[in-house]
């Protein structure tokens, strides 16, 4: 859980991404999400479980309602993954700059 794999798979589904994007605007209860999206309540709950399993959202119970909100640092594994390949561009950029320097004189 909470691995890159989970995150990529969680965000690969359009419905789930839409739910996540909705949650970035602010917390919402399951019934709100169910009302807004054209899928059944169990489908919403399943999507939320996948997002939570990926560490992207967290749940808070309040009476009968369960509010979901974005986990603030949930996307950082994704950012880290991308940043790992920053080295790829850095290296290429350096080579390019070296080339330009040699052409300078």
């Amino acid at each position: 859980m909470q691995t890159e794999d989970c995150i990529f798979r969680a965000l690969a589904d359009p419905s789930r991404r839409a739910i996540f994007e909705r949650l970035t605007l602010g917390e919402a209860a399951v019934k709100d999400l169910t009302a807004r999206f054209a899928i059944s309540q169990p489908a919403v709950s399943q999507h939320l479980a996948a997002l939570r399993n990926a560490g992207l959202v967290r749940a808070r119970r309040e009476g009968r309602l369960v509010y979901y909100e974005v986990e603030p640092r949930g996307l950082s594994p994704l950012v880290d993954w991308i940043s790992n390949y920053q080295a790829f561009w850095k290296e290429r950029l350096q080579r390019l700059e070296q080339l330009l320097e040699k052409m300078e004189p």
Copy 2:
């Protein structure tokens, strides 16, 4: 094609992500990838097609060999998506984006 959806789906598969990560180390022909990964050559070709369809890699034919390499700006839709929904990382990502901008021919 080349939409967020494609990119997320492309990177959701571990084998495909591994191939992409290998390509960030440098270009490789299909036969090299086939030798390195424990899946058949058609499977590799199919993964490469998915990555290319997502705009993450590009192919160059050289004789009978087909070399695949990372598309430099391929990850930027992902970066854009993240920065849209997580203002917290915007600064860090902007640095990455600036790096990518410099790669533009």
